[in-house]
Amino acid sequence: MSKDVVTNIILRDDEDYIINMGPQHPSTHGVLRLEVCLNGETVKYVVPHIGYIHRGIEKMCEYDTYKQIIHLTDRMDYLSAHMNNEAVSLLVENALGIEVPERVKYIRAALNELNRIASHHLWWSAFGMDLGALTTFFYGLRDREKILDIFDESFGSRLLHSFVTPGGLMHDVHPNFRKNILEFVKYFRKKLPEYKKLLTDNIIFQNRTKGIGVMSKETAIAFGVTGPSGRGSGFSCDVRKIAPYGIYDQLEFNEVLYSNGDSFDRYMVRMDEMVESMNLLEQIVDKMPEGTEFTAKMKPIVKLPEGEYFQRVETARGELDVFVVSDGKKHPYRMRFRSPNFSNMFTLNILGRGLKIADLVAISGSLDLVIPDIDR
């Protein structure tokens, strides 16, 4: 192993002053338990304990048909529900060799980007709150509400949509879909400078995040840290670029890369991704073909041919991989989700060691953890 990569080995001591952060703690965003060893205010080591919300989704998938699995994937990373749905849908479509209509691809991409912005909204809100700036929470959620209204109009639900399905979409999007997206982009472009004024430029915020929790590129690769957290370290891991799916190879966008790998860079990646997603949305609305077709022809019962299938998608938090072993029946024989948060979270120990307890909160906020995705 190269020297740049730090290891995760923990040396325990009987005299350790252990604090249990969680399972119910305001800054762990869910039922994550962090066993934090303190030396005064300084963190000696962090041991994450997970499994409080383990629902056995992989096991449940073995008893569900491929169409039914969609609603389970919603509940893994509930903030990027569309991307999760699309992962399974793409896998089934690729395995069966189904070509979905062009329009569906555009709609899916639009939904992905909307969902990414909504997810980053919530992250921004919660990150500010982790650092003690309570007002950010309301500004972020206020703007996220606009996206949820678009979702609500088209799918009837705001968080868990189950809208993307193998072969296309559940039904057509609302006729106002394009108009609403453009309205939102216009609205949010006006509000984004406010985010910068309130938090990004703030001297306290910068002092709290710059140089905190530095993750080198090598560490990011070695620990499999993907998504905005990995790109903050310069690890080019955007699946939309390296293994394009859907319509992404025909759209122009930049992969946001920062190189310092501290909390501030991870923050900036997400802030820039919101801008990038808005650019994508404008392109998509511009190019989206007219029409009403929303699904390819599919048999009512989906059976994958025997074999193994693998699909990578980029969620708001990183790379989601779906791995299916099929035995030719209508249920998968084995279904595996490689969730981005799972790998991201286990860097908490190597990032948080030697820093203050307040920094640990800043780091876990900047990694943007969603606990149900870790436990699955």
Binding site: D64, H71, L72, T135, D152, E153, S157, D201, N202, I203
Partner: protein, 161 residues
Amino acid sequence: MNSIVKYFSEIFGGVRSLLTGMSVTGKYFISPGEIVTEQYPENRATLKMTDRFKGEVTMPHDENNQHQCTGCGICEVNCPNGAIEIIIKKVPNESGKLVRAIDKHIYHLSMCTFCELCIKTCPSDAITWGHDFEHAVFDRTKLTKVLNKPGSSLKKKEAKS
């Protein structure tokens, strides 16, 4: 000397960034028109869900207390959570022959995850989304609903032209 300049420029930069931040909150403080709160129980009259809102699964009945459910059980099979149970009975039709009809279409709202598969797959469009969202009850058994109204019957299909 340089370090002193840096020291003071740091202070002034910091204070300026703090003041810009305060200008944002201050701006909202003096513009109460930006308030986005929805006063929920009071605005019940004006609160309108979107057309596609997924509140609960319902079975529309027409004025003759007739529905379209044939009791084929496709929704039951498609439900990933077992939230739908269909109890079948045999009823005589006009010619006196016993035919299938639903006795009870039981819907467990507590188990429903609103994935829309039942509605999507229903061949006779018998069930649809209701817009009611106030589902809170004190007793969990109340979340188990019978969708077909008592005494209802299957709507006759118009003869195909």
